[in-house]
Every structure is written in structure tokens, then in C-alpha cells.
Subunit: 537 residues, 2 copies
């Protein structure tokens, strides 16, 4: 989830530009039920009148995903190159915001004036078309923001890594390079996109049945590689999954994709012999609703996998998604489908610069200061060490750290409170609001609801009763858990002093304690307890 | 989670032996709040009088973990070699069962008589001491059950792979080899435990500060390798974490571990310069309560990590555990600790046989039938294909499949219903009981409790009221969600016909529908709803 802010001006009067506003994806461990994780933009919102513009480096969700969810609160104009802007405009429209808040920008040497800043989009290769670094000029000097990148001289789709261009831009001195750190632990130089085609083609030739391949839809170069390999192997190409079709369309529309092989509609594919078919599908990360998962469960758009077919993951599983991916692999295995993943290293290359590539970037730009970004703490730390070993000034900037780059050495000047906001259904909730914490507690401990009616004389009207959810019906004594709880509650109420009976809070606490003790004795765990006391008045 | 059953005799009269009764570990995605996952032993329990014995191949939790939790229902005698039996007896005692239900067995050529079976423990190398294959003889012939294994000729602790011994046992013909499949996708021959020592020693020498290393405590050979490397690098050894101390003790007791370097108590370590310390700690999988995680959060037993220290994962992260491990890595990174994992391939070797090793095993045993075990479906399938390519009869046996091995070709004769039982607190619940499903639903959707009192005339007594847990307080209209729900419920009740008011079930459904609609409109999600109707009579 990326969101960077650059400012220029006197303290607390700086004019600001924002680079990327992305999302992160929830998981059951820490964010059950949440739909999307957004950056907490409270700090930016308070300074809304000082924001000149938002710049989006590329169309990956962790960089662009939150622009429409935050636009209502920031109202700042958005700038991006054509392919990225195509996605941005769609997101804005889908969320009821004006698509024309997004302005299409040409690549460098064009520049956008944004208050004291001039910002240019400097093409660089990555696993999505038109990814760009940003050249950020201000009276304090030039800063390069790398964006996500790899050094690919033959990327197939989109612009190649152009060291001359980056060198030219850097030749009069770069104050700071803010630089992707994702693959700093990968010791060998990255491989070009062009290396995967021949291997994939070989696999498509040798496969007997239908071939189904998945990759991130936004990796348009890979989608093209897969389609062309299929075509050469005599297969008709079918695009399956909304994102896959949309991404190819958007790429053709914005001109980044040309010469894509002809495709066949799913309904027409059924009449083609399966050994002449290649399906390109969404769901490389095992997403439950994507085409790959649907095929793993049975038919999708009238197509299904059969014994002897091949399924290719032309992708890497992002840490945290292993379970979903493995589930799909085994479902296919049960159908007799051969599953091929990138275990061999043949069918996928990373979109990020490896350690030697980072060093090459440092050498080309020769910045005064290096600020690692895009990675966990351990990646930023390693990248800082790498820079310092090369004689650069490295600074390990964590979330919320405001760094003054205007002097000779970087200086931490402030820690801004940052955090996460959850999009939960249609509502945005703070990560610390306790809503998700309560869900996790119910999931771990189960939930008991105690209801008690108290009459006008502060006496229980009838017995209290319990309702459980997510708890076993019986425990060690084999009697129904609910009945045991109710009996213990009744017993407690029979002895409770009038003062407790009049005090809702004290009574609630006592009833909760009673229920938790009964549960602990019976089932060995302490549930969450909600107590509802209603007083007849 | 392993549990295998062998039977001999007339159908429905077979005498049975059980091999391994292990556990699996829960996760938040599918089993929130659960403590352990056990095999569902209903089928075995119904045939308890036909079970001759339980044999445990080795002391890994996925093979031994459920013996004490199932002993009460099976009551069958348990056999294991000394080191494994040591653990088994402790588990039995901890759960209130007689430790002497566990009998210590010597290795092959000793055999245990178990009804029509004779069973011998055939030593083999693995990542825990005294791992054994089983030689299972019956009037129908000899079957070899490999257990978990690797082909390590120099395992440091425990017995080496002895192809002569396995060949000797197999020379008169083996009906079937039931064989570990875990690493069937690893194309290169496995490396010996002996190869990791020199690399680890180099790292311990070069590290400046304290070194902390983690591995599975049960990987006693690795613990010894780490300790000896530390000792050679001039470091005092501290064992941290209950399992680490217990495993070393059990290994010394049962005689599998000799010449372990002297250790220092944590409280004495504080007076030793940190560059002379090596801590061996539990928590290689990022477990929250293990020593590694505690050190990542701060002090543990008075010891803490500091800038310049080194933390070594001499282990592989099991799929599904990535998040916990990465969290620890980043916490250490924030402290300025250098984290080293097995990315380089230098500091860990697998405990399972790789593809060429499996082929070697097939060649040594030359079984008539190969039954792959221990792996996901895709592993079993690949192993079956591997066997068949070599001219063996392979049979892909999934959970619950009963296979007749007595004929010339394996024959599937029955599908036994199998499943999972959850240990939840102190209670065992069925995986399909709905308890965990309800917890997951509450975690995803939140929980609303509606309470309504109805008087003797079937009229609402006062207004219904709502209590929410795991839901935001306000939604699109900015009014409190609870109040909106209550208003909509009151409105519904004002219009409800007398028939509905008399019918608890119909009323409940109507109230639930009302609340879910209000929530959908306000917050864009439909919560779980419990309705509690109390009638004054």
C-alpha cells in the first residue's frame, strides 16, 4: 500500500504533492470481513488546501487502488500517463467521482506544473505497461522517485530500461533517489521478460490437452507472451475473467498493446478441440472468485478442465496467498490436470530490480541521498546498507517519517501519525476502532449473549437466558452448555445484593464473569459475552 | 496429519493395526479458535475390539500428536522406539492416561507380534532422531511403510540411510511400499545434514554481536550442529524455549544425543559478553508464543536482541506460516538485527527425500506396488506417475480409500468416511458441526443480537433492541446503526400481523430480514443476526 508525499516551503506552509494512493488486501488473520485496506489520509485531509496534485506512477492496485476511495476527502487533481489514467478514470467513474479529475500526461520531457514543483514521468520497465519514475523538480533541487521498476532492455510491452535517458536526467545532480527495494535480497541480476517466451512456447507445444495459463492480468507483456506462444503452438486464445478482458482492452485502447493474437469467445471455444485451446485466466494468486478458482471448482463460462489438460502458473505466489494457490493446485490434481508452476524458474520473471540492478540504478543516477522505499523494514534496511556501502547517504524512512532533503544530509524532522483505514462494506473504519478486533475475538472465542429482564422492583423477571454462537453445544459434563450457563446465572442472581441489581454496569460485569467461568469449566475456553439487560419501567 | 490403518483377515473381520496418529495445526482462515486438528477416528472407534496395536514411526507432531487425545476412545497399546516413546509417554501422562500403554521397541530385527501381523522398526534418516520405517509382515506378504525419510548417509544424529539393510529386508519380495512423497517435486538429490555445519560455523565466526538461531527443536541433529558451530566460534550456548530444552533432554535421556556442548542458563548468560553468546531458540515458524517471537517483541528470560546481533533461521518456512515469520524478521530489522534465512540454501537441508532419492528407494525395495503417502494430492499424483514411469504399479490413495494389496494388482475396495475433529479448548468437536463455520461468519460479517419481549397478548412489550459486535457504529446516514435498526424493527412490528406475532420462527425470520436490510443499506454488508424473543407468560 503506497502513498508518498513531497512538500516544498516553510514548515507548516509547505505546498504538497502526493505520489500514488494504493490499497492493500485484507486477510483472515488480521482483517476478517474487510474489503480493502486504504492508507489513513487524515494528515493529508487536514492539509487539503495545500495539496497541488496527485501523481500515479503505474496502475498496480497497491499504487492506484485508493484514489477513488480518497478523492472525496482530498479533491486534488490526479495526473497519470494514458494507460494508468485509463484505469484511474474507470475507478473514479465507478465510485461516482468525475473522471475528468484525472489528467493524461505525456512522458518526459513533458512536465506538470504543481505549485513549486515541476513533475515529469520518466518511462521505466516494470510488470505493467507505462510504469514511470517521477522527476520531481523544486527550487531545492531535483529528486527522482523510481516507482516500481526492473531494468529490462527487452520488456516486449512498454518502454525498455533506458540508462542513457536516466543518466541524462541525472547529469546535473540528483538530490535524492527514492528507490524500489522489493528484491534487494535477490543476489543475481534480473532476467528480461523476453526470456520466458521460448520456454512457454515449448510447454504449449508439448502439452496434449487444453492449456490454461494464469498471470496477473495487468502484466500485459506476459499475457501477450502467453497468447503468442499459444498461437505458435496452434492454439486458439480465450480470455477468461473480467480483469483479463478489461486489461487487454485497456491496453489496446491506450495504444500500449499492439499485435495481440485474435481471441475466441468462451461460447465459441466449446466447438474447438481442446488440444487447440489456450485459456488465459485470472486468479494467479488463488483468489476465490477468479477464473482459475472457478475452474478448480467446476465449469466456468461453459468450459471445464479435464484429465490430461495442463494448468500453468506463469506467476509467483505472493507471501500470504500460498493456501489459496495450493488449494487450486490440488483441486486440479484431483481432476488429473498437470499443474506447472514457476518452481523451475522458467515460466516467470520478477517485475522488480534485483540487488545488482539496484546498484546499476544507483550508479546511473548518482544521487546525493538514497531513500529506499517499497519493501518491508528488512528490505529498506538492507537497501540502506547497500547504498552506504557504495558511499551514498542512505536514510531508512519508515511510515510517517518526514525527512528534510534540502540540506547536505537527510534529516528526520517529524513523525506523522499514519495508519490504515478499512473499507468495510460501504463504510470506511479506522483500523483501531475496535470493530475488527471484536470480530477476531468472536472468531477465536465464540460469542455468548445473555439476556435478562428486570422488573420495576429491580428483581429478575423470570430467568436469564443465553444464546451462543460459535461454541460447542455440550462440554465436559455432557449437559447443554446453554442450560448450565443459565443455571449458574440464576444461582448468581438468587444471591445478588440489591445494589448490584440496580447497577447495570456492575450487574453486566458479574453476569459476564459467571458465564465465562461456566464456559471455562465446561469447554475450556472463555467466550466473548454480550449482556443485555432490559428494565421494565 | 497422519493416520494409516493396515488390516488382515476376512472382510469386516480384519484385525487392524494403526500407524501414526498425528495432528494438524489450525489457522485463522479455516479453523479460528481451534487448538488442534485431530483425525476423526469414528471408524476406528467402532472397530476398537479389532485393533491390535498402534505403531508410531517418529515423534513429529503430525505423526504422534493425537495419540493421547484419542487413547481414551481406542485403548490400544502403543509401540515406538525409545526416543519416540519418551515423547509418547509424556503426552499420555499430561493427558491423564497411563504412560505404560506405551511400549519401547528395539529396532529391526526385533519384531512386535500384533495379531496376524509382525511389525519391525527399520531405522531411516529424517529430521528427528530414531525415525523408522515399518516392516509389516502378514500371511499376505511383506509391506514396507517408509515413514518420513531422507537418504542421509551422514545424518550426525540418529541412524544413517542404510541401503544394504533396506535391500536385505526387501530381497525376498515386497508386496507394497507405502512411501513419503513430500519432496517429489524437488528435482535434485537431497543434501546431507553434514553439509550445513561448515556454513553455519563460518557465519558464527563472522558475526560480531550475539547470534540467535532457530530451528525445529525436534531436529536434534541441527540443534547439535548449531551448538557445535557456536562452540567452535567461541560462543557459550543458551537453550531458550521449553521445547528446545525438553528435546535436548529427551535426546540425551534416550541416548540418541551424545557430546552436546555444555550450555549456560539464561540468567547466567547476562554476564557473558554478547559476542560470545549463541542462543538456540524455538519458533522457527514464527509461532507467537515461542522464544523467537518473544525476543522480537522485547525481552525474554532477561535476554534481548540489540543492534549488530544476528538472527539465523536454520529452517524452511512451512507454507501458511509466512506471515508470522516475516513479522519477526521485520521486528528484528527494526532493532538493527541482521536476519539471515535460508534464501541462500546454505543453512538448512530438508528432512524429506527428493525425487532422485525416491527413485533410489524404489530401486532398493523393488516393491510390486507403490502407494504414495504424506503429501498433498498433487504430490501423491506425481509420485504415482514417477513409480509408473519406472514400471511399478502405482496407486493414488486419497484419505479414506481402503486398498486391497493382497492380489497381484491393488484394488480399491471401500471408501471409509474420514474427516477432522477439532480440539477446541477442552472439547472435541466435529469439523462439520457448524461451530467453526459460525465463528467464521461472525468474523466476516459481524454479529447483531435482536431482543424482543412479547407480552401475554402477543404484543411487543416496549421496543425491540439491538446489540452489535464487530460492526461500525455508523453508516451512510451517519446516524447510529443500532438506532436505525431498532427504528426499522419497531416499524415492522407496528405493521406485523397477529399470526406472525404468535409464530416465533416466522417472527425471528422477519426480524432478521429487517435487520439485514437496514445494515445492507447503511453499511453495505449483511451481518449474522441472532434473534432472542422472550414471551411473558
Amino acid at each position: 500500500m503506497n502513498c508518498y508525499v513531497y512538500g516544498y516551503g516553510k514548515p507548516e506552509k509547505e505546498r504538497l504533492i502526493v505520489v500514488d494512493i494504493g490499497v492493500a488486501f485484507p486477510d483472515m488473520d488480521s482483517t476478517p470481513g474487510v474489503d480493502l485496506i486504504l492508507p489513513d489520509i487524515a494528515w493529508l485531509e487536514e492539509r487539503r488546501d495545500r495539496i497541488e496534485a496527485v501523481f500515479i506512477t503505474h496502475a498496480h492496485e497497491d499504487h492506484i487502488g485508493a484514489i477513488a476511495h480518497t478523492y472525496g476527502r482530498l479533491q486534488a487533481p490526479i495526473f497519470a500517463r494514458a494507460f494508468t489514467a485509463n484505469h484511474a478514470k474507470r475507478k473514479m467513474a465507478e465510485n461516482g467521482h468525475p473522471a475528468d479529475a484525472v489528467t493524461v500526461v505525456e512522458a518526459w520531457p513533458d512536465q506538470v506544473d504543481a505549485g513549486p514543483f515541476k513533475v515529469g514521468f520518466l518511462p521505466i520497465s516494470h510488470s505493467i505497461p507505462e510504469s514511470s519514475g517521477l522527476v520531481i523538480d523544486s527550487p531545492a533541487g531535483r529528486v527522482l522517485h523510481s516507482g516500481d521498476f526492473k531494468l529490462d532492455r527487452t520488456p516486449l510491452v512498454g518502454e525498455a530500461w533506458d540508462p542513457e535517458l536516466w543518466g541524462e536526467v541525472s547529469k546535473n545532480g540528483v538530490k535524492a533517489l527514492i528507490c524500489d527495494s522489493t528484491n534487494v535480497f535477490s543476489p543475481h541480476a534480473g532476467r528480461s521478460e523476453v526470456t520466458v517466451g521460448p520456454e512457454i512456447e515449448k510447454l504449449m507445444h508439448e502439452a496434449n490437452g487444453m492449456v490454461v495459463a494464469t498471470t496477473f492480468a495487468s502484466n500485459v507483456a506476459r499475457v501477450k507472451t502467453l497468447a503468442e506462444a499459444g498461437e505458435r503452438a496452434g492454439r486458439s486464445i480465450v480470455l477468461l475473467g473480467r480483469a483479463m478482458k478489461r486489461m487487454v482492452e485497456a491496453s489496446v485502447e491506450s495504444g500500449v498493446l499492439t499485435e495481440f493474437p485474435p481471441t475466441v469467445a468462451p461460447e465459441d471455444a466449446r466447438s474447438i478441440p481442446r488440444e487447440n485451446l489456450l485459456l488465459l485466466v485470472t486468479g494467479s494468486q488463488g483468489e476465490r472468485r477468479a477464473a482459475s478458482a472457478q475452474l478448480a471448482r467446476g465449469k466456468y463460462m461453459g468450459l471445464e478442465m479435464k484429465k490430461g489438460d495442463t494448468f500453468l502458473f506463469s506467476s509467483k505466489t505472493i507471501p500470504g496467498n500460498e493456501r489459496g494457490v495450493i488449494q487450486i493446485m490440488n483441486a486440479f490434481s484431483e481432476m488429473g490436470v498437470d499443474v506447472v508452476d514457476d518452481n523451475s524458474g522458467h515460466y516467470h520473471v520478477s517485475g522488480h530490480a534485483n540487488r545488482p540492478d539496484l546498484e546499476e540504478m544507483h550508479s546511473v543516477v548518482k544521487p546525493q541521498i538514497l531513500v529506499p522505499m517499497h519493501g518491508e523494514h528488512r528490505h529498506l534496511r538492507e537497501h540502506t546498507k547497500l547504498a552506504e556501502a557504495k558511499g551514498l547517504q542512505g536514510v531508512l524512512a519508515v511510515n510517517g517519517m518526514m525527512i528534510d532533503l534540502s540540506g547536505n544530509a537527510p534529516k528526520v524532522v517529524e513523525y506523522v501519525e499514519t495508519g490504515r483505514t478499512y473499507l468495510d462494506g460501504s463504510v470506511q473504519i479506522g483500523a483501531l476502532d475496535g470493530v475488527v478486533r471484536d470480530r477476531i475475538r468472536m472468531a477465536l472465542n465464540g460469542h455468548v449473549v445473555v439476556t435478562l429482564i428486570i422488573d420495576e422492583q429491580d428483581e429478575p423477571l423470570g430467568d436469564p437466558w443465553c444464546e451462543t454462537m460459535g461454541l460447542p453445544e455440550t462440554g465436559s459434563s455432557n449437559a447443554p452448555l446453554v442450560e448450565l450457563m443459565e443455571a449458574d446465572l440464576s444461582q448468581f442472581l438468587g444471591r445478588a445484593d440489591p445494589k448490584t441489581m440496580r447497577d447495570d454496569e456492575a450487574l453486566e460485569q458479574a453476569l459476564r464473569r459467571t458465564v465465562r467461568k461456566t464456559a471455562q469449566d465446561e469447554i475450556g475456553k472463555k467466550p466473548e459475552v454480550s449482556v443485555i439487560i432490559s428494565r421494565l419501567t
